[in-house]
């Protein structure tokens, strides 16, 4: 009997000790020492706002040269690594050889049959056959990646942009399996040795997180157009899909447009003028 009560005493004491140990943490979590009552967090003045951001790509205005400029502008501004870049041996000694299948890309060129595999026409007009199609994240209205993410590291902002919180991503890559457009890349390794010139206005990523196009959320916040729009010579327009007066809506009204894999019901926000 005695023995048993000693044992149960130790059990209770142990549980109590855990509780005591957790107390400071609970106390800290519940305290609010910065007096949020007096502080305000707000969007930048002059930020570009929308109810739902969307993109229209005019395939008539896309040439190989424009594609190259757009991809370069985007990847440079967002410190996207280029695995063909020659590594600076002094700064990053003993960098292991790359596996090009593990590349990272935000926006890139695809042929029609790859961009629109469900629109495989046997006798497609030759013009489309050779046309470069720019593909990127579609910022879907019903984004499968957002549903899949177990930590809400991928989330949908109120203005429709599907964003990544690189601080929170655990690198499970469920979102990559979920994305029907292959828009996501995983950092299989530290990207820094493969960045030609690091841009200080945007962070690089660490190994082990997923990344993709962010529709230049950091530029919209400053009242500037996305890099791809600026480099596109008028081929790409970004605007509010829910504003009937917006430039994107006017374009959609005037032209026949298609979207990638519409039948899946993800409601992509990127339209292609044919």
């Amino acid at each position: 009997m005695m023995k048993k009560s000693k044992r149960s005493f130790l059990k209770v004491a142990g549980i109590a000790a855990i509780g005591l140990g957790a107390f400071p943490a609970i106390h800290f979590a519940s305290s609010d020492s910065h007096g949020t009552a007096h502080t305000v967090k707000s969007p930048n003045e002059g930020a570009l706002l929308a109810h739902r951001w969307g993109m229209v790509i005019d395939t008539n205005k896309i040439t190989d040269e424009v594609v190259e400029n757009i991809v370069e502008a985007c990847h440079k501004a967002h410190n996207v690594p280029d695995f063909n870049h020659e590594v600076d041996e002094e700064k990053y000694p003993k960098t292991r050889p790359v596996n090009h299948k593990q590349e990272v890309k935000w926006i890139w060129e695809e042929g029609f049959h790859y961009a629109f595999p469900d629109k495989e026409d046997e006798f497609l007009a030759e013009r489309f056959h050779d046309l470069p199609f720019l593909v990127t994240c579609n910022h879907c209205k019903n984004a499968p990646c957002v549903k899949a993410c177990p930590t809400q590291a991928t989330f949908k902002r109120e203005d429709g942009i599907v964003l990544m919180d690189f601080h929170r991503c655990i690198g499970c890559r469920f979102c990559m399996a979920a994305c029907p457009y292959g828009s996501r890349s995983f950092n299989f390794r530290d990207p820094r040795p493969f960045i030609d010139e690091t841009v200080s206005t945007f962070p690089t990523r660490s190994k082990g997180v997923v990344e993709k196009c962010n529709l230049c959320a950091e530029r919209l916040a400053k009242g500037e157009q996305p890099h791809c729009v600026e480099a596109s010579e008028g081929a790409i327009v970004v605007g509010d899909l829910e504003d009937p007066e917006s430039e994107v809506r006017v374009l959609l009204n005037e032209h026949y447009t298609i979207r990638r894999k519409q039948s899946l019901g993800t409601e992509p926000s990127v339209y292609y003028i044919m």
């Binding site: 292991r96 596996n99 299948k101 593990q102 590349e103 990272v104 890309k105 695809e110 049959h113 790859y114 961009a115 595999p117 469900d118 495989e120 593909v135 499968p144 957002v146 549903k147 899949a148 993410c149 177990p150 930590t151 809400q152 590291a153 929170r168 991503c169 655990i170 690198g171 499970c172 890559r173 469920f174 990559m176 399996a177 979920a178 994305c179 029907p180 457009y181 292959g182 890349s185 995983f186 950092n187 299989f188 390794r189 530290d190 660490s206 190994k207 082990g208 997180v209 997923v210 894999k261 899946l264 019901g265 993800t266």
Partner: protein, 385 residues
């Protein structure tokens, strides 16, 4: 009770040291992966899940298979399973430990894994998968331990183990169903987008799990004084027989729907696995091996003379386990990623480091299994011997 595990024969300790060496090797390679990232694996932008997740999926099946001894014994009072029920439960524990480890080694940022609980996301199937897997693990540890303890002390197990046992049955079905839902709810992956995925997973689980258990029974009989009983193994082999036939049938249904309807987004994957696609055919020999093994295994189990053959039975079971492992491990995951959503073909093969880490995880699982089985068999020897 754990003190039993530190008293063993020379062979026992040799086996433990061997397992520790395997775990150590896996650990060292994992340090490299932890510091340099998943670049050391064969995974890529297009095939973003590989060997780790494949083995995870297979082992969820093994864990769920344990329920095939629990149901007959606890729901139907099938006495012959009395001696092996605990083996099924402990096999589930070891399999789930491996599952958890496979998820962890697959993460790009393992130090942040608790984010899954800090930011619970009820829309994500992965969230539910974590819940059912951890739930089933805890259930099996508690049930197995309490029942074995009671058996050792020759008393009735505590009354509350009964409801937990009943609860563990839907959990077992649940872990594999939810794991299938991870894949089959994704709109852009034609290979997985099929309602039969969860039933197929369960069928292969109920074949591979009990088949593995039969092999373990042979090993236990050889190395300990405890005899799990030939009758129990016979019944188990019938369960394996039904399940493997169901698995093959479900696969046939899948192949028919996909190939006859001939929708490219769905057909391409089966085509890649069975015949090769645009000249890429790395998995074709594997898939046919798998089908042959499972088919032959089913025939061997169907014919009573062959099923009753004590020398053939473990071989048949090994064929079925290996066949199911290829089917689920290699085919099921890679097959879903090839071709990619943009219909590019990027093939996948695990790298050396990836295989060593995988073996390290299996080593850990077998260490857990060895210790738990050592406890179980020793207690049974004490009580019955």
């Amino acid at each position: 009770m754990l003190e039993i595990a530190i008293k063993g024969s020379k062979n026992y300790w040799l086996w433990i040291v061997f397992l520790l060496a395997v775990i150590g090797a896996g650990g060292i390679v994992y340090i490299d992966q932890f510091t340099n990232g998943l670049m050391i694996t064969g995974m890529s932008r297009d095939v973003s899940w590989g060997f780790y997740i494949a083995n995870f999926t297979f082992l969820v099946g093994v864990a769920a298979g344990g329920v095939m001894v629990v149901i007959p014994f606890y729901l139907h009072d099938y006495e012959k399973f009395h001696r092996i029920t605990i083996l099924g439960e402990f096999l589930a524990v070891a399999a789930l430990v491996m599952c958890s480890l496979f998820i962890i080694v697959d993460l790009g940022q393992p130090t942040r894994m608790l984010n899954v609980m800090l930011y619970p996301s009820p829309k994500s199937i992965l969230f539910y998968d974590m819940l059912v897997l951890q739930g089933y693990l805890i259930l099996n540890i508690v049930i197995g331990w309490k029942i074995l303890e009671a058996e050792r002390n020759q008393v009735e197990p505590p009354f509350w183990t009964k409801p937990l046992i009943y609860l563990s049955i839907p959990f077992a079905i649940g872990i594999h169903t939810v794991t299938a839902y991870l894949y089959c709810g994704l709109p852009g992956r034609g290979f997985w987008l099929t309602a039969i995925l969860a039933p197929r997973f369960l069928a292969s689980a109920f074949a591979a799990g009990p088949a593995f258990l039969i092999i373990l029974c042979y090993i236990i009989k050889k190395f300990t004084k405890f005899d799990p009983g030939w009758d129990a193994m016979q019944t188990l082999s019938k369960i394996v027989c039904y399940a493997i036939i169901a698995n093959l049938f479900f696969f046939l249904c899948e192949v028919f729907v996909v190939m006859y309807s001939n929708i490219p987004g769905h057909a391409a994957h089966i085509q890649y696995l069975l015949f090769g696609y645009h000249g890429y055919n790395a998995l074709v020999p594997w898939m046919w091996t798998s089908l042959t093994l499972m088919g032959t295994g089913a025939i061997f189990l169907l014919i009573p003379q062959l099923r009753n053959n004590k020398t053939l039975l473990p071989v048949t079971c090994a064929m079925i386990v290996f066949g199911a492992w290829i089917d689920k491990g290699l085919g099921m995951i890679s097959g879903g990623f090839v071709p990619s959503p943009l219909h590019h073909v990027t093939e996948y093969a695990p790298t050396g480091p990836e295989i060593i880490i995988t073996l390290g995880v299996y080593g850990t699982g077998f260490l857990v299994l060895t210790i738990l089985y050592k406890l179980a068999t020793q207690v049974k020897e004490e009580v019955h011997g």
